[in-house]
């Protein structure tokens, strides 16, 4: 990746303040290609400390692709190529000496479809701390599992069946189990890719409440197709269109008086 940290060409295009005073993640002039196709076009944005930010935009706009750049999930796609710079606390995450395994512990991810391991509820949460060697003994591990399940709002529902399969839980519970699994390794940032799209309104409300609470401790980036969800859970919102970051700003501004016509059209249901 070339270092273009001081070249903010994308700001010619993006409306709103892309910078954050307390930035944890910084993306600078990021381009992403799938083969010859450019999926992300010169995007610059900061993710602030303990902020919840939503990425919105029509299908294929690149928001999920861009989200996956933050913990190098795109590395698993052979034809994917990334230019520009992304730093976590000013450390280039694409540097050749960066090990992606601990990186993905620092920047956790929750996916669209709940994907618990085919293991017990306990082992799902204990998996990360075990492989990263974060716990000294069984008692410590037990406390991490309990604490993570409590913070994910799931403890009261599963504490009497921790050895039951995680896959036996309801969809909403499975998604909270995945969130517990992500926070068990003490991440700094949590990426969520449409975390509620497979859930009913009650399960969605529980996840949204969880996002609200976790936002006091972590930086959270959430990709969502639900305008209302973005409005409900995030302080900042970024609108993507055709791989470009069109507008970013305070959520209450974006949903009441967006500056860019394309943002206005999208949130009003005028372009798909």
């Amino acid at each position: 990746m070339s270092d273009k940290a001081n070249d903010f060409k994308s700001l010619d295009l993006t409306v709103g303040d892309v910078f954050s005073k307390e930035a944890r993640l910084k993306a600078r002039n990021v381009n992403v290609y799938y083969g010859d196709k450019k999926a992300i076009d010169n995007v610059t944005i900061d993710i602030g400390n303990k902020e919840v930010i939503s990425f919105i935009g029509p299908s294929g706009c690149g928001k999920s692709t861009f989200l996956r750049c933050f913990n190098r999930m795109n590395d698993t796609i052979d034809i994917c190529r990334i230019e520009g710079q992304i730093t976590l606390d000013n450390e280039n995450i694409y540097d050749s000496n960066i090990d992606v395994v601990p990186l993905r512990a620092r920047i956790g991810m929750v996916f669209q479809k709940p994907n618990p391991f085919p293991k017990s509820i306990y082992d799902n949460v204990a998996y990360g701390p075990r492989i990263h060697g974060l716990c000294e003994n069984k008692e410590h591990l037990d406390s991490v599992v309990e604490e993570s399940l409590k913070r994910a709002g799931l403890w009261d529902e599963v504490n009497d069946r921790l050895l039951s399969p995680g896959t036996g839980l309801s969809g909403g519970q499975q998604q909270r189990l995945c969130i517990a699994r992500a926070i068990a390794v003490s991440p700094e940032v949590i990426l969520m890719d449409e975390p509620c799209s497979a859930l009913d309104p009650i399960a969605t409300a529980k996840i949204e409440e969880l996002i609200h609470e976790l936002g006091n401790e972590y930086s959270i980036v959430i990709v969502t197709h639900s305008m209302q969800q973005a409005a409900r859970v995030s302080k900042r919102t970024a609108y993507f269109h055709l791989g470009k970051l069109i507008e970013v700003g305070k959520t209450k501004e974006i949903f009441t008086r967006p500056q860019h016509n394309q943002t206005e059209a999208y949130i009003s249901g005028k372009i798909g």
Binding site: I267, S268, G269, K270
Partner: protein
């Protein structure tokens, strides 16, 4: 934005809201125009028509409130759509109030006719009413065309009505002091002048809503005012 929603029924709902609002706005303008004309012509039959037509505006206001409420509940409007609905709900109530004032002016005009009212020196209620009517016409135009410049012009013109109100208030009180038994007529004239001044205030409220509709923010500067009737003791 002129572009249509993907969901055409959303556009249908917004159009229904807008059409009812415009009907209400034009109805309020019509009522006000007639009540000012009737003040001059003193035709009792025409005056009664204005009094009887007020229910029509009340019903239209109810419709706008119902449509707006349903759009918020069912469509979750955003940005300019949200502003359109909120502004419609606010100014519909204002138009309905203008209708109420028109009815009140008509009722008082009826009494003045029965009391054999003639013009008082220095008082031209018709002129004050016509200028307010022009403001109302202009603010309706600013809403239809989303013309925030015209809305600001309307808002700033309210100061002329304030000045006329202050002047007529002083003249009416002076006439009441000079002429025995003029108190009943003078009292009604004071109320009519005050009602017209309130209509002009309402028009400026609508103008500010138009500005918000277009720009997504409220006018930050203080509205110019010149009504001294509540702060000045007559000579």
């Amino acid at each position: 934005m002129e572009t249509k929603h993907i969901l055409s029924s959303f556009d249908d709902d917004l159009n229904k809201l807008n059409n009812s609002l415009l009907k209400l706005g034009n109805g309020a303008l019509d009522q006000f125009e007639k009540c000012i004309n009737n003040f001059g012509t003193q035709n009792l039959e025409d005056i009664e028509k204005v009094v009887g037509a007020d229910k029509f505006l009340d019903d239209l206001d109810d419709k706008v409130q119902k449509y707006g409420f349903e759009i918020i509940a069912l469509r979750a409007p955003q940005a300019a759509d949200l502003r359109r609905v909120i502004v419609a709900l606010k100014i519909a109530t204002i138009f309905e109030r203008i209708g109420d004032y028109s009815r009140n002016i008509s009722n008082r005009t009826k009494l003045l006719v029965e009391m054999k009212y003639t013009d008082l020196p220095g008082v031209n209620i018709g002129k004050m009413g016509q200028k307010t009517q022009t403001m109302l016409e202009d603010v309706l135009e600013s809403y239809v065309n989303q013309d925030d410049k015209l809305a600001i012009k309307v808002r700033n013109s309210d100061v002329r009505i304030d000045k006329m109100h202050t002047q007529y208030y002083l003249e009416i009180v002076a006439s009441m002091q000079r002429t025995k038994n003029l108190a009943p007529i003078g009292a009604h004239l004071l109320f009519i002048a005050k009602n017209i001044e309130r209509v002009a205030d309402y028009v400026t409220d609508i103008a500010e809503q138009v500005y918000f509709l277009v720009n997504g923010k409220v006018l930050s500067d203080v509205r110019p005012k010149a009504d001294e009737t509540s702060t000045r003791i007559p000579d």
